[in-house]
């Protein structure tokens, strides 16, 4: 049908209207507006800048009126983009602790939050009547894995830029609920995906950026993301996808858990096997070494006992040799002594025999010479040779000195004795008889 609306000009930076003019879009104009909404993704409503091709008409009854011939989507897109940039800039400037830019990416406190491994308790923000809300809950609760969730719904109108403050207040209510949530899910239910202006509003964006619970969005728009999407922890295209994301996240965690369980099982079995193998080492070592130690002790003992006995025998042999040597000396010496005695005795016997004979011979010789001497001295032998023995007065005269002339003398010859008177006496020197 036809559209009736008012075009206004506001004083820069305020809501103060400085000029306004009524406008109407007839059938063609309305079709252009619908085309505009489709292209921009933005409802043709309050607080948007538009570039219109209009015809001016005047009617007595309705007054001055602009008739819309055409509307420029490109202009509004540019304008919207400018507004978004302004919001972004403001966030970056005014909330440096919550938002910063890294290249194309916006880094917010919220999208820097770690997501719990299991998302179970969820604060769901959406419109109760909307299809998106139903889609999300249905997808979540009808999951094939049997996962259970605790969902608290925070219902309200999630569209129209005027609701930004209300939505921000809803977030504040969640934060202040004193309940623990793994995530806040923001869904926008069905209908036109035209008014995303709401999600570029500074107040809402600031709340999202600094929200302490990870926010998952499923706003249902097909084209570019809103600033809220970029600041939220995870942005999905639709509520269903948001639910699927949560299921997949939990599923991934469970897979890691199962992997860990398998690791634990395998490691504990390996550990047992290793301990069993390890135990065999000292067991074998002890058996082996104790046997070795015992054998070497046994060898030592046998060696030593043989040594003691062989040394005893050697000692006995040495003593025995010593004894034999002494015994030999003792058996030889007596015979030597005896034979020496025999010789000495024979020597003595020989001496005795010799000396006894010699002495007898000497005596016999002496007695013989004595006999010869006496035989020589016997007067008979001299008388027989013609000599005479003259004696005077009874004594034998040896040299005639004791005879005087006239004296009677007796002359003894070998056969007779003559008595005579001395006539004359004459001295003789008588050398003639000397030998």
């Amino acid at each position: 049908g036809h559209r009736y609306f008012t075009l206004v000009e506001k004083k820069e930076g305020t809501n103060e209207i400085v000029a306004s003019l009524k406008a109407v879009a007839w059938k063609f104009g309305s079709s252009r507006i619908r085309e505009f909404e489709k292209q921009t993704g933005q409802a043709f409503g309050n607080n948007i800048n538009v570039l219109l091709n209009v015809s001016v008409s005047y009617h007595q009854r309705y007054g001055l009126q602009l008739m819309v011939n055409d509307i420029s989507a490109a202009f509004t897109i540019g304008k919207l983009e400018m507004e978004r940039q302004a919001t972004l800039q403001r966030l970056l400037v005014e909330c440096p602790g919550l938002v910063r830019q890294e290249g194309e990416n916006l880094i917010s406190l919220n999208n820097s939050l770690p997501l719990n491994m299991v998302i179970r308790r969820i604060a769901l923000v959406g419109s109760s009547a909307s299809a998106g809300y139903e889609d999300f809950l249905h997808t979540l609760e009808q999951n094939e894995f049997g996962y259970r969730f605790a969902v608290d719904s925070y219902l309200g109108t999630v569209q129209g830029e005027a609701n930004a403050a209300y939505l921000a207040a809803t977030f504040a209510k969640i934060a202040g609920s004193n309940k623990f949530y793994d995530a806040v899910v923001l869904v926008r239910g069905g209908g036109a995906d035209t008014d995303f202006l709401l999600f570029d509003q500074y107040e809402l964006c600031r709340q999202v950026a600094g929200f302490p619970i990870p926010i998952i969005t499923g706003l249902g728009h097909l084209k570019n993301h809103s600033i809220t999407d970029r600041l939220a922890h995870t942005a999905l295209k639709t509520p269903t996808k948001a639910a699927e994301f949560i299921l997949a996240h939990n599923r991934a965690s469970e897979d890691r858990l199962k992997a860990l369980r398998n690791t634990l099982i395998i490691k504990s079995l390996e550990l047992m096997a290793r301990r069993q193998r390890e135990l065999a080492l000292p067991l074998h070592a002890i058996i082996h070494h104790s046997q070795q130690a015992f054998l070497s002790r046994k060898d030592e003992y046998h060696h030593l006992s043989r040594e003691v006995l062989s040394k005893s025998k050697a000692l006995l042999n040495r003593r025995s040799s010593g004894l034999a040597a002494v015994a030999t000396h003792l058996s030889l010496a007596p015979l030597r002594i005896l034979s020496a005695e025999v010789s000495a005795l024979q020597q003595t016997q020989h001496t005795l025999r010799r000396d006894a004979g010699r002495q007898l011979k000497d005596q016999i010789a002496e007695v013989s010479s004595m006999e010869r001497l006496f035989r020589l001295m016997s007067p008979m032998n001299i008388l027989k040779k013609g000599f005479a023995l003259v004696s005077a007065k009874g004594y034998i005269s040896r040299d005639g000195s004791d005879v005087e002339p006239g004296q009677e003398i007796s002359i003894r010859l070998s056969a007779y004795e003559i008595t005579a008177i001395t006539i004359q006496k004459e001295k003789r020197d008588g050398d003639e008889f000397n030998l």
């Binding site: 491994m117 299991v118 894995f145 259970r148 469970e254 858990l257 634990l264 504990s268 550990l271």
Partner: protein, 68 residues
């Protein structure tokens, strides 16, 4: 068990247990105990995924004072 045991804490404890076992720091004396603890933690995590809030709380309190 700790009343405020989280899935994360349980999971991290499980990882530590796995690492200990891997690095052979677990003695035979401790093994069964540690594995029992692991089994309990895994059960806790799985329950966390599939049970209602009330059930989880009931499980936690039933685990009682046997925690390390």
């Amino acid at each position: 068990m700790e009343m405020n045991l989280t899935y994360e804490a349980a999971f991290n404890e499980l990882k530590e247990l796995a690492a200990e076992m891997e690095s052979e720091q677990v003695s035979v004396d401790e093994l069964a105990e540690k594995l029992k603890r692991a089994s309990m933690l895994i059960k806790f995590c799985q329950d966390k995924l599939r049970s209602t809030e009330a059930e989880v709380n009931q499980i936690i309190s039933s685990m009682g004072p046997s925690q390390p």
